[in-house]
Structures are given as C-alpha cells and as structure tokens.
Subunit: 409 residues, 2 copies
C-alpha cells in the first residue's frame, strides 16, 4: 500500500478532478411530470411559437386600433359588431376598419384586429353596434403570437435542476418526455467491529450504526439513488468480496470507517486494492475529517469517511458533494448560507480547514452564530447544530463579532 | 351564491384560521429509515443513556488519573499493564491504582479507570510495564455514560421535519419506527374551456394545461401527496360530480380556473355548493391573484386559483402554504430569503399586497434584484424568474437601491 502524505482540501480537490474527470452520468429519457428535481441533460427549445396565435388578455372587443384613436366618453367611436370568438376555438372571423368582434380573455384574436378594448369602455347600443369610449393603442389587450416564446428559442438550459415552474413550461410547449441525467448510484457501508446495525440485537459494548442512515439520507436529499447500505464486519476479505460487485454497479462507493486504528488500516487497504489507480488521498488537512480516504477502482469513486457521525457528514459535504456537483455536474440544492455574527472567538486548527458546528439566534436585525461542541461521536451535537461555519486553512480562527457565513444543515 | 367583498391578505388569513382551525393530519407509524423529510408527530426521548457505557475517544491506556499527576518526559510514571479491551466487547477487566488497560478508540472503559492516556505519551517497557509521560485529568480521553444523551432526555421535538442527522440520531438510540404526520392529500384540477391536457391532441385555438403540472410539483416539493390531477371541462355538473368524492378523500382540493369570466363564476359556484360552509373568500387584494377563491366543504379546504400560471403559483405560496405550514402545522422547507438591492423603482398596486418577479445579479458584495415583467400567462416569466419580492399593502412601491427580501423560487 502506498504511503501518502496528508493533503490540503485544495490539493485533494485537484487530485479528485484529475482522477474523476471522466466520471459521468448516462442520459435517460423520462416523463416530464416525473421530472421534479431531476437534472436536465439537454437544452430545451420551443417547438413552436407561444402563444401559437394572437390571444386576448382581457374580456373585450377586438378592433382595428386606428378606428379608436381620439375616442373618449364625450366622443365615442361607433363600430359594427360582427360576432364573437368562443374560448378555445379557432375563428374565421376577421376585423377590418369599422368592425369589432367580442373576445373573452384567452381567446384567439380574429385576423385584422390589432388591439382589444376592454368591455368596461364599451357600450352595447344594439345587436349590431357598439360605442367605444377610449382609444386603444396597437397591441393593447392582447399578446402576440410568439411574444412569450419564439419558436426555437431556448427555454431551459442543460444542467438545470428542474423546478415546478420548469415542469409547467415543458407542459406549456407539449414536451412530454425529456432527457435527464441518471441519478448517481451510491453504495454505503459502515464498518468497524464495534458497529451493529440498529435492526439487529445490540450486545453490551457495541454501538448502533448511525452513518449508513445519515449518509444515505444526505445522498437521497442530493438526488442520488442509494443502491446498497449495510454494516459490514471489519474484515479485509469480506469487504473486498462485498465491494467488488458494488464498484462495478455504482459511480460512488462510501465506506465509513470505524474509529480504531485497525479499522482505518483495513479500509485504506481495501480502497487501494479494489482496482486501479487505487487510493490517491490518505488523510486531509481538515478538522474534523483528517482520516479521509479517497480512491478509484474502475469507474467508481471510493470514499473512506471517518467513523464519527459529524465528521462523516462534514467530509461527505466537502468531498462527495464536490464530486457530484462540481465534477459530475449533477446540479444539487446547495446549503442555504446565512450571514451571522460570531458569538465568541472561535479557534481553528493551524494548517487545517476547520469546520465548526453552530446554533443560530436572532438578535435584533442580526443573526448570531454560537459555536457548539461535543465530544467525538456525539449525536446530540448533530441534532442540535443548525449549521456550520468554515474557517480557511490560512485564517487564524474567527473573532467575536466577526461576520461569518453559516451553512445551514 | 353569497356575494363577498374582496378581502385583504390579512383578513383572508384570519378567515382561514377560523374555518380551518380543526384541519389536521392523522399520525401514522413509519420506518425510521424512510422518514427523511417527514414531520415528526411525537416527542422523541432517549430510551437509554448514550453512550451506554464509558467509552474511550482515543487509542490509549485506561488508567487511574491520580496515578499520572506530575508525570512528564523527564519523570515518567510506571504502571502495571494488565490487559486490553477489544472493540465492541464487554469487559470484566478493572483498573485500580498502579494499573493500566489498553483501550482502542470507541471501546469500553474498564471499571475503576477515570481517564485515558493516548498511546503517543506511553512507552512500552516490557509486556507488563508501561511508562506514562504525561499527566491525565479525570475524564480525559473518554466520554462518560450518558454524557451525549441522558436517558429520557428530549432528542427531537414533535413537529420537526426530519433531516439526515435526525435519522442518524434515531438510529443511534435504536428507534426503528416513529410516528409522523400523514402527508397532506391534495387533489388538483385545471378547468377552462380553452385548456387541454398536454397528453391530448391540442386543436388550434386551445392551450396546453400548465397549472396541474406546476401546482402538483409545488405540492410534492412541500411534502404533500398529490392524489389526483386532471383537466376538467368548465361544466358545473361535471365538476361537482368529480369533486364530490375528492373533498371526502383529500384535505386540500385546488381548482385552477380558466381566465374567462364564465369559468371564474362556475368555479366559485362549485366551491360554494360542495358543502358547508362553502365559499368564504371571493377575491383578495393581492397582485397578482385577485380572483382567488377559498372555501370549505366537510373536512376539505377548497382553493380556486387564478388561471394564469404565475398568479396560481403566487396564490399557492401565499394561501395554500399558509394552510399547510401555519394552520395544519406541517413543517415545510420555506423559501430561501436573500437580501438584495432593488435595481429600479418598483411600483405596487395601491391597497394590494404586490408580488413582483425578479432576477438576481451579483454586484461586488451585493445582490441586485431586477424586476422582470411579462404579459399575463407568460411562461417565459415563470422560468426566468429567480424569485419574487413582496410589497406590503400600505407601502408605496420600492425605491431604487432599497433593500428588499427576495424569496427564491
């Protein structure tokens, strides 16, 4: 097994970009109405003009706008009422000078008309005559064919994570199927002799697995498909046997290690031996998260996460999210960032990128970030924390009252 | 049908609280590992101390801390090595003065020990003797039984929308099933003679339905279960027939109306006739969204949304979200709010709460909100908008350079 020096976060990301530059997701075709949150794999262009015809935006009379110029309450213009357009129906009526056709909101504007006067400004004199009390400019009360979207104009860009309004837009132009990226397939293992699945009997002395739960929920929240999760004994041959098919079937395989020295060694060796090029990061200058391992076997990215739940979550956010979002270009919802003021001085670890869990309180107009601490593995820290702040490698902590970015959890 | 005056947003919310105060969701039991994003229906207490035993947080030797006081490199303390604790295993070893037991990180601390000295500060002299080069304070290198969570202490509060770390915490204390609120059941109809489902042939003159797509995606994003969606002809008897079973089976029924006068009237009449007390809001002083209708039939809340997609989305966010989140206490992810500076003066409608769609640009340290406009029904407006700002009823627009809250879409 290669012996590697501890990398900075920056160096780690550079190595990841080098090794995972060909990591990609296949395109698949799915139903538009099942595409919420999926990542678009193609540019979408309008297949026709929208609207497809001149449409009324008011209830009123389609007219020849020049006819109404100068019309007022005291000097109305009289027009010949020649019929009405029904909602949702094609019309063969047309408007020329002196004529008017009734159009409800949303209905098609007859040929020749270039404006619609709202019914509020119209008086019905008899079944053939209306009086118009206001002048109408060309285009008033209507939306032109293609005014919303021109045929072949770009509606949605490749790479966009689809929102409700995007799905509405696709429906509007009749696009029922779209190409999206397949969901990244992720397999998640917890290992360590002290770890037991919560589904099993827990003998005194052992502890229940947490990481397959938190990490798979984080992966799902990101839009990944978790294909496998299990607690596996800390045994080299067993791990290799379980992992061999998983690295073929998944883009990402995550092993959260037990916290003992022995377990860490086994995870590193397994990640190194599963295939070429093997392990290329073994230890990162980040706190928490130093024992992070990253490697590659075939087409799968392999991550060895620390066993402590909070550390595992932080390392997942830093590196697995980086792979998915930045390298594989799978758009995810990023953490909300809140600007807050530090409640006290917060220390950082020299030479390490430091992540500090915080709770947030409102004080007048400001948000206050309070650092919270817990011994390693504390789950209460995890549920109490509302977010975290990041202190850069070269920064000597945060001073009380300093403005900080809080990444909400 | 009752004739109602237009209500302010505030009055509408008050009426909703009055009529929907008994609107509630049943509690159901589900698997913890399927509970991401679900709303907890019970307080969760720790069923036992966590950790369940004193645990080591380092690889080292469990000792009697007093033995090490004063130990240093130049003056080490010699202790009798009596054995080791295996990971994840109960131990019957104990430590008294002069003794030391090896413990890996995460392992159980033997009885009698009150501190762990890290292996870095220990020298193995022979198979029975170690030299300790540093003094250890009581509690160093270990976490006490119950230090993370005391038995019966509150872990998660009722009403919380479960995050990945919460699921991890539940796993940590072996809670495999939890009570959550059932998902609000929502039925969504689009009506209007000009509206056609995108799944059907679209004759020239008609337009494709957008609102069942956007509104159902918004409801799903909020954690609701969309039980029904359809485009229905603008026919009183047909609507009543389709809606009668839906108001029995859903907590929320949404009808987005066509834009013509006739359609609006039918929707109002249907909402009023479906059951007691019927319609109680008919028109709200909000822009866009004036033709909003709200009513109640049996246990179902009924909403008549404007036909224009952007208006329908805004009204959904104002009132349906208010019902679900504030009245039914179904915790949802609220919009991210970003502080930005207005790019230009933005006008509001006097006496109306005004919603203005914006795009956001970064300018140095600041975010700039640019108002964007589109004729009614414009779908390009919907996909271009990155968020909206809200201008209160009594506020006369926003001045260029003024700080505004942007609700991201």
């Amino acid at each position: 097994m290669k012996l590697l020096k501890v990398d900075t976060v920056e160096e780690t990301k550079n190595k990841m970009e080098h090794h995972f530059r060909k990591h990609f997701l296949e395109e698949i075709e799915i139903d538009t109405n099942k595409s919420l949150g999926r990542v678009l794999a193609e540019d979408i262009y309008a297949p026709f003009d929208l609207p497809e015809f001149h449409r009324s935006t008011v209830d009123g009379y389609a007219i020849w706008s020049k006819d109404t110029f100068g019309a007022s309450d005291s000097l109305p213009v009289f027009l010949n009422y020649v019929g009405m357009v029904d909602m949702g129906v094609d019309t063969n009526l047309s408007v020329s000078t002196g004529k008017a056709v009734y159009v409800p909101t949303g209905a098609m504007i007859p040929n020749g008309a270039d404006g619609v006067v709202m019914i509020e400004y119209v008086e019905l004199l008899d079944s053939h005559t209306i009086a118009v009390h206001r002048s109408v400019a060309p285009g008033d009360g209507m939306v032109l064919k293609g005014e919303d979207l021109k045929k072949d104009s770009l509606i949605l860009k490749k790479g966009r994570r689809l929102k409700p309004q995007d799905i509405g837009a696709l429906a509007a132009v009749g696009i029922k199927h779209i190409k999206v990226l397949e969901k990244p397939r992720v397999a998640i293992l917890s290992t360590g002799d002290e770890i037991v699945s919560p589904d099993e009997e827990v003998p005194f002395g052992k502890i229940r697995d947490i990481n397959t739960y938190t990490i798979s929920a984080m992966a799902e929240q990101m839009g990944c498909e978790v294909t496998f999760k299990a607690v596996v004994k800390d045994d080299y041959h067993l791990l290799i046997k379980i992992l061999e098919p998983l690295v073929k079937e998944n883009q990402i395989v995550i092993i959260s290690g037990g916290s003992s020295v022995g377990t860490k060694d086994v995870t590193a060796k397994v990640i190194d031996d599963l295939g070429e090029p093997g392990m290329f990061v073994h230890g990162v200058a980040v706190k928490p998260g130093k024992p992070t391992i990253i490697g590659k076997a075939g087409n799968a990215a392999l991550f060895g996460l620390p066993g402590h739940p909070v550390s595992a979550m932080i390392v997942f956010k830093i590196f697995v999210e980086y792979l998915i979002h930045d390298i594989m270009k799978y758009e995810i919802e990023k953490n909300i960032v809140l600007q807050a003021l530090a409640d006290t001085n917060i220390h950082s670890s020299p030479g390490k990128e430091t992540y500090q869990m915080v709770i947030i309180e409102k004080s007048g107009e400001d948000y206050i970030a309070k650092a919270i601490h817990g011994k390693s593995g504390a789950i209460s820290l995890m549920t109490r924390a509302q977010g975290y702040i990041k202190i850069d490698t070269n920064k000597e902590g945060v001073k009380k009252g300093e403005k900080v970015d809080v990444y909400l959890l």
